[in-house]
């Protein structure tokens, strides 16, 4: 049995054509059949049945009643362990529920499990997880593909139809790039739209929660639920959340779409350029005007990101020290040795690499040359966007420089891996919202994603454009 979307399943439930229990059982079966994809770090049928009991009798006014949702294992959850895909948090059981997941629970959703990710969200292929790779469900012919990352498990769960929606976090592209690789919709809202409370931090000034779904409408429904002000997060925005789903409108007449010239980079396949071209034409056909724009500091975005994000990470991850919770190395001879052993055994290679980079760029004598300069460049990048948004409504770019790559590719070359974020990182640095939707395929038949970027707090604009583009493939 396959359900097309959250809205479709909700209607079936409202019409009593299916029960919460039947929905849950359907998805339990699907998950059990797809265990080889290694999508979930935590999956426990009993926990799902417990939720069914709690949800069954809720009013149908709860917009997500009975809807199966997968949760990236970076969100702390009270009823399921939270690992951040790290050995250092293996078996960690939070006593608290993150803001975002609590909002989903409050609307009656059923968490089917906690999805795999790159360790502490550091990666672009879900291959740095302590719990092994996740395999992209679209892989063919014995060539296992990466689902993208870091929210690869969540994107794959939606793509494999193991849930109808999933939470993700996006620090430099961790929602948009896997959405592109797995052929699903993924949105990273404006920085601050969703509270970070209860999400294990990677880079605080960039981390933002968002969602995956099968279509734009579902993403708009989910984002409406999880967005909102939270006093416990000082960077959470106190803005009114519009009813994104009710306001969806595919009429693009009079809208101006910016096409940034800096996003035409070497080494990008013709197929991607073709898809971009197609999307531009389609938007024009729907009444939008095309404007060629320049975001001159784009080329500095990647190095800037790879200074700021590791710097914050090196500090954010200092709390995993073996003292209070999580993994602690055995028989250390001193406090210092406990730290050294715990952290070298508890963290994986990529996390350690970024902690080292971050520690370096914050060190005395290097701070000004790296961290401080990166902050200045970040400001310039953000200003680039502010400037172009004065005369365009949104920006259209490819999401990633390639389709899903083979799992074995790029494993040993961090720089090559970091290049995957080239189109997604600028929006993260600027804090603006971005959505990726599947739009066409490469010649292998793998999905390619297109990215729409909007003004701060203007998620509605990019939802609408995405909604219009989506109709091309219905």
């Amino acid at each position: 049995m396959e359900f097309k979307s959250i809205s479709q399943l909700k209607s079936l439930l409202d019409e009593n054509k299916i029960s919460v229990k039947e929905i849950a059982e359907t998805y339990i079966k699907k998950i059990n059949e797809n265990k080889d994809l290694n999508i979930f770090i935590y999956f426990n049928e009993d926990k799902i049945h417990d939720q069914v009991k709690e949800t069954e009798n809720l009013s149908n006014d709860n917009v997500l009643k009975g809807i199966p949702i997968a949760v990236k294992d970076l969100f702390c959850t009270k009823n399921m362990p939270t690992t951040a895909a790290s050995k250092i948090l293996e078996n960690f059981k939070p006593t608290y529920e993150s803001f975002v997941t609590q909002k989903l629970i409050d609307q009656g959703s059923i968490f089917v499990g906690k999805t795999n990710l790159d360790e502490f969200a550091m990666g672009s292929a879900t291959n740095t997880s302590f719990f092994g790779n996740t395999i992209n469900p679209l892989s063919k012919n014995n060539n296992p593909l990466a689902p993208g990352g870091s929210s690869g498990g969540s994107a794959a769960a939606v793509a494999a139809d193991l849930c109808l929606g999933a939470t993700g976090t996006d620090t430099g592209g961790s929602i948009r790039q896997p959405a592109s690789f797995c052929g699903v919709v993924g949105i990273k809202p404006t920085y601050g739209l969703c509270s970070r409370w209860g999400i294990a931090a990677f880079a605080s000034s960039l981390d933002q929660a968002g969602v995956f779904s099968k279509n734009v409408t579902d993403s708009s429904i989910l984002l409406e639920v999880i967005a909102g002000h939270d006093q416990r997060d000082s960077t959470s925005s106190n803005v009114k959340i519009p009813s994104f789903s009710k306001n969806l409108n595919s009429d693009l007449r009079g809208k101006v779409i910016g096409i940034p010239k800096e996003y035409t980079v070497d080494g990008i396949s013709d197929e991607i350029n073709q898809v971009w071209e197609d999307a531009i034409k389609s938007l024009e056909k729907k009444g939008a005007k095309i404007k060629h724009i320049s975001l001159p500091h784009t080329k500095y975005a990647l190095p800037t990101y790879y200074i700021i994000a590791p710097a914050e990470a090196s500090s954010n991850l200092a709390r995993y020290d073996g003292v209070k919770y999580g993994y602690r190395a055995e028989n250390p001879k001193s406090l210092d040795e406990m730290y050294e052993l715990t952290r070298s055994e508890g963290f994986g290679k990529e996390v350690k690499r970024r902690i080292l980079i971050g520690t370096y760029v914050l060190s005395a004598g290097y701070y000004d040359a790296y961290y401080l300069k990166a902050q200045k460049v970040r400001k310039l990048i953000a200003n680039d966007f502010i400037e172009v948004f004065s005369d365009c409504d949104f920006i259209l770019t490819p999401t990633a420089p390639s389709a899903a790559f083979s799992l074995n590719e790029k494993q040993d070359d961090p720089i090559k891996m970091y290049l995957n974020d080239v189109f997604t990182v600028p929006a993260s640095l600027a804090g603006i919202p971005g959505i990726s939707i599947p739009y066409g395929h490469d010649k292998e038949g793998l999905p390619l994603g297109i990215q729409l970027l909007g003004k701060h707090y203007n998620e509605q604009e990019i939802f609408n454009a995405a909604f219009a583009l989506e109709k091309d493939y219905e």
């Binding site: 960690f92 000082s234 710097a311 919770y325």
Partner: protein, 491 residues
């Protein structure tokens, strides 16, 4: 007063700067809602934020910010409209986040100054560099188990104000006066409880020595001193040590020192401490702290009378000396007590010096003997005021008043009641005194004769005898007059 210290070879000048860590008086912590009550069961006042659980975020406690602003105002300092919380990164078992949230380049309070007063009536300004807010760490307990260290996080996240002085202090006494003054201002403002024993107020002392006129020498920092006595001891030891090293041709190495309170000596902290690179950077979990001018003005209106203002008032209204006034005002509760005593009767104002003496000598010695603070004094300001009034009205003598005070201390009774019950009222009835004097003259003929022959000193003897007969209650002035008159008539 010369601040120079004689060395074996030449004179030396000491240069001292202080960093005072004052715990903000607040029911909850700087970035969480946990309680700050001292002495609670270990780890009973720890929130998810204080324990640095994954995904937990700091939220600024507005009250602590207001307390810091008020303190800044009390230190005559500039309040910065824009300040930033930074992370100071280092690993320690009682530092759950792996960093301390502090303020580095942009503190909430900038330059200010406080005045210290000396016994000789002179005074001196000590400049303040800055005041910044930061979190306290938890506490490592190394003595609970032979092989383990326990960690108590109750203190983790408690708000501290670090008040940094310029190196304007020149000796241990000035350092003591300076800390006392800061402590007194904080207590007047009610922004810190000033309790040094419980660690609410601690200081790091930076010390260097130089030949007069030279540039600053290399300094050493003595960490975490929690009593004025230890601060003075540590300074005196360290100054002597540095002079000895320099005079023997050595160099002072910049170092962080600990003061051993039982040996009275300083020693370097472990060497790895020197290698710390704290990698300060703005905390991305917190927005810059923006304080509007109107908010500062509102808080200015909440500032109570501070020690310097009160001191001026005492000098102007009560004619007290600068030093008396500064001693009295240095402890807010003593000063408040004095104010209440003075209010008991309008005539006490003119006798303020007597009031001061009865508080600072008689009452204090009773309190000290019984290990009591003035706040717990069994004698209320009202009763002390009544007692002083009885003295200046000649109802009782000063000598009897001391007995009455003791009785008041023991029984908490009203002095009027005590002298009534015990019949201690001074005898001013001249006929009664005349009778007593007649008796004394009759009983001491020989002495009277000698007195009349010129042994004037014997008058004291007659006074003593008469006083004894009156059980100490005769008004000495009247008694003297009557005695002299009656004795002269014998001639």
């Amino acid at each position: 007063m010369s601040n120079l210290i004689k060395g074996k070879k030449h004179d030396w000048e000491t240069v001292i700067g202080l960093e005072i860590h004052a715990q903000v008086k607040s029911n909850s912590k700087l970035f969480s809602s946990s309680s700050t009550t001292f002495g609670s069961k270990p780890n009973s006042q720890v929130s998810l934020v204080d324990a640095a659980m994954p995904g937990m975020l700091p939220v600024i406690n507005k009250y602590c910010i207001e307390q810091a602003i008020k303190t800044g105002i009390g230190l005559n300092a500039k309040i910065n409209n824009y300040s930033i919380f930074d992370r100071k990164n280092y690993f320690y078992a009682d530092l759950p986040q792996g960093y301390q949230i502090s303020q580095y380049k942009h503190p909430i309070v900038g330059e200010g100054k406080v005045t210290i007063d000396f016994k000789d009536g002179s005074s001196k300004d000590i400049r303040i560099v800055r005041l910044h807010l930061e979190q306290d760490a938890g506490k490592s307990l190394h003595d609970q188990n032979p092989t383990k260290t326990y960690v108590d996080l109750n203190r983790s996240g408690v708000a501290l104000m670090e008040i940094v002085s310029e190196p304007d202090i020149r000796n241990a006494d000035e350092a003591g006066l300076y800390i006392n003054k800061i402590r007194s201002i904080l207590m007047y403002l009610d922004t810190c409880d000033g309790n040094m024993q419980e660690g609410s107020l601690r200081a790091d002392v930076n010390i260097s020595v130089r030949k007069p006129g030279d540039d600053y020498g290399t300094r050493c920092e003595i960490k975490n001193l929690n009593s004025i006595k230890f601060i003075k001891q540590a300074i005196n030891y360290e100054v002597k040590r540095q002079i000895e090293v320099l005079e023997e041709g050595g160099v002072i190495e910049q170092n962080t020192l600990l003061f051993n309170t039982s040996t009275g000596k300083t020693r370097p902290m472990r060497s790895k401490e020197e290698a710390h690179d704290y990698r300060y950077f703005p905390d991305p979990d917190l927005l810059p702290l923006v304080i509007g001018q109107s908010e500062i003005e509102n808080l200015k209106n909440e500032i109570p009378e501070l020690p310097d203002d009160r001191k001026k008032r005492y000098i102007n209204e009560y004619n007290l000396s600068n030093y008396d006034a500064s001693v009295l005002t240095s402890d807010k509760s003593v000063s408040d007590f004095f104010d209440s005593v003075i209010k008991v009767d309008s005539r006490l104002k003119k006798s303020s010096k007597i009031v001061v003496n009865w508080i600072t000598s008689e009452l204090f010695s009773l309190l000290n003997e019984n290990d009591l603070e003035i706040n717990n004094s069994p004698i209320t300001p009202e009763n002390l005021g009544k007692l002083v009034k009885l003295i200046i009205d000649d109802v009782i003598s000063g000598k009897i008043a001391k007995d009455v005070l003791l009785e008041m201390f023991k029984t908490k009774k009203d002095p009027d009641k005590i002298i009534e019950d015990k019949g201690l009222k001074q005898v001013t009835d001249t006929s009664l005194i005349e009778t007593i004097v007649d008796d004394v003259i009759d009983e001491n003929h020989k002495m009277v004769d000698q007195y009349l022959l010129g042994k004037d000193k014997l008058l004291g003897f007659f006074v003593g005898q008469a006083m004894k007969k009156s059980k100490g209650k005769a008004n000495p002035k009247i008694l003297n007059e009557i005695l002299k008159e009656k004795l002269s008539k014998k001639n």
